[in-house]
Subunit: 119 residues, 2 copies
């Protein structure tokens, strides 16, 4: 991780949707890329905000009171404690930034909790 990180190249290494790839660090935060396809699970992070930047495609971040619609070049930070559920009708590519140790499924847990692979 000593040099530039090409996000599209990293995304091409991911085998499937909702398997985040760890691409680097910013202090005690992790930088992840993920393919989103279909609906994830409703969850929240009580201790941290949650950063989403869409790199390609279209992402909907469902909140309980509205949907946040994001296209490429658009970002949204889900405030801590706010329930959300990402979904994409077609594959979308997303950059995520979260504190180290933050589980992708937040408080929900379950089978979709991912072990991030360094890519």
């Amino acid at each position: 991780m000593d040099d530039r990180i090409n996000l599209a190249e990293k995304l091409a290494l991911l085998p499937e949707a909702y398997q985040p790839g760890l691409i680097g660090y910013l202090n005690d935060y992790k930088l992840l890329v993920v393919k989103v396809d279909g609906e994830f699970v409703w969850h929240k992070h009580d201790d941290t905000d949650d950063f989403f930047l869409v790199l390609s495609g279209h992402l909907t971040i469902q909140l309980r009171d509205r949907d946040i619609e994001l296209s490429a070049g658009e970002l949204y930070v889900v405030p801590r404690g706010v329930e959300h559920c990402p979904k994409a009708d077609d594959e979308a590519h997303v950059l995520l930034i979260e504190p180290l140790g933050t589980p992708n499924t937040g408080d929900a847990g379950g089978e979709r909790t991912a072990v991030e692979q360094q890519i």
Copy 2:
């Protein structure tokens, strides 16, 4: 800042190069967009890494021992304590993420130290 942030729209609000625009927060980090045109100043941040994601154009992050060349969709995190000097021959658009209170000129200070405007 309650809704999606369109990076290109935010960049269009910036009047000139090296005047960062504050577009949001991630916990105690600030999210900034900036136009880079020409050479900045050599500096370092002793207490934090420094995140650069190129959104358009081409950015060179000069380090003392090499140059990091970044095109759109490429990022680099300058490790804390490492001297660097960004430059762009033509205007490049960049997303920056830094802890609150981090000055853009790091330890160098001087006339190019910017007061970030929320945009």
